[in-house]
Structures are given as C-alpha cells and as structure tokens.
C-alpha cells in the first residue's frame, strides 16, 4: 500500500523509533512494534524494506554528521533515485535531523568512549590541624572525591594533594 507509506504523518514517529533503536540503544523497538503503532494497515512484507530504507538514510546522515548543505544535497539525490524517497518524505527527514542532530551526535560520541568517564567531582579544603604525632600541621590540604566509571557504574575515589605544589623529581624506588 504505497499510499500509506508515502503519508508523512507517521514518518516522523518512525524516524524517532529508529533513532531510539539505532543511536540511543533503547531495547524492545522491534519492526513489528513500529509497524503496528505507526503503519497498522501496511503488511509486514511491505513495511520491512521501507523501514530498512529509512534506517539506512538516517544512519548515513548520522555517520557523516551532515551539515545542512550536505543534507540537502544527499536528500535531493535520494528523491531522484529509483525506489528512493518522495520530496515530502525528504522534508520530514530534514526536519527530524535538524532537531535531533545534537542529541544523536552526543549518543554516538558516548558509544565511542570506552575508557571510564568522570561522573562527578566534589572537594573539600582542610586547614590547620593536629595529630598524635605533631602539635600542629601547617599544610592546608585539598581532598577530592572523583566518581569515575563507565555508564551505570560509579567508583568513588578519594584523593588528596598537598599545597604548595611541588615538582621536585626525587628518587622513585
């Protein structure tokens, strides 16, 4: 049912759903879910290649991090292709990319970050104090708590450093 697929109303929703799956890693966004929610009257055999085409277009745009000139040129080329997209669909895709570009790019950057990230930082400065061994300790100290971890994981780290800063290279056994 080509007419149904050409309708632009559900296309925006489809692009959102495809972005959730392809870029944000949200689970459970199946082909069947998208079809039943957005194109309920389109049989799955017709919906499948259509959503694959839209997914491919979205991935190409995101992968190349297209600016608006590149986007226009790319989408125009897609409208001229055999089995490509309509100019109305191109307009919907263009509008979608313009409003989601930053968020999608951030998500892709996160996917490429494999080392731990700095999740949080808090600190305290201690002034003069006493201890069992010394009557008065003159050096103010900064204590920092760094929360270092991959997404969903936090390893708080308590670190301190003394003042004044010293760059003396002493013997390291």
């Amino acid at each position: 049912m080509a007419g149904e697929l050409e309708s632009c109303k559900p296309l925006s929703g489809l692009l959102s759903g495809l972005a959730q799956d392809a870029f944000y890693g949200h689970p459970g966004i199946t082909e069947e879910l998208l079809r039943s929610q957005l194109y309920p009257d389109v049989p799955i055999e017709e919906f499948r290649p259509f959503q694959a085409k839209m997914r491919g277009i979205l991935k190409s745009i995101a992968s190349a991090d297209m600016d608006f000139n590149q986007l226009e040129a790319f989408l125009t080329a897609q409208t001229k292709k055999q089995g490509g997209i309509t100019s109305d669909q191109a307009a919907v895709i263009s509008k979608f990319w313009k409003s989601h570009k930053t968020k999608i790019r951030e998500s892709l950057m996160n996917q490429s970050r494999w080392d731990s990230g700095l999740r949080g930082l808090s600190w305290r400065v201690d002034g003069k104090s006493q201890s069992r061994h010394s009557a008065e300790i003159h050096t103010p100290v900064a204590i920092m708590e760094l929360e270092i971890g991959k997404s969903g994981q936090i390893n708080p780290e308590l670190t301190s450093a003394a003042n004044p800063p010293v760059f003396a290279e002493e013997d390291w056994p």
Binding site: A62, S63, A64, D65, R105, L108, M109, Q111, S112, R113, D115, S116, G117, L118, L121, W123, V125, D126, G127, K128, S129, Q130, S131, H133, S134, I137, P140, V141, A142, I143, M144, L146, I148, E157, L158, T159, S160, A161, A162, N163, P165, V166, F167, A168, E169, E170, D171, W172, P173
Partner: protein, 96 residues
Amino acid sequence: MLVSGFRSRTVVRKELEWFPCVPPSSVKMLIDFQWKLGMAVSSDSCRSLKYPYVAVMLKVADHSGQVKNKSFEMTIPQFQNFYRQFKEIAAIIETV
C-alpha cells in the same frame, strides 16, 4: 595545580599517617597527574566523529604506599568544569 610531583614511597606513607578527619585507609595521595588531548576522528558507529576529548591518568598512593593508576576521559565541557573546580580550590587554598 595541585600535583605534588614524584615522591618516594616512605614520604607518601608518612604524609598519609597524619591525614586528619578522614580515615587514612580511604584517602589516597595524588602522586602524579598526566593528561592527553585527543581527537577521535572516526569509529565503527560514526564515520565522521570529530570528537575532541581530554584523557587523564592519575597516579595515586594508598595508606601503605602502594601506587595505582586511574584513568578517565572527559569531553571538553566536562574538562572545562574540572579546570574551573581546580581554579576554585587553588584560590581557596591560598587563603587558608
């Protein structure tokens, strides 16, 4: 900056012994701070990544003097906040 440079193990242990307020076992001393400014150009999920980042390697010593490396990455905005925090600490430490 609050980096104390290279220190021998015995110096580190001595300094940690008199650490006030916080139990010595939970606090580590910052021995060294190494950094790298990198640019991720491309990846399998994004051909045109162009993502600058700051990678930091902290060398910390625990109460017994044992040294460990801790590394992490920051985006540029995260690094700018990190730097601002250090500036604030430095300003306050001057007044203590």
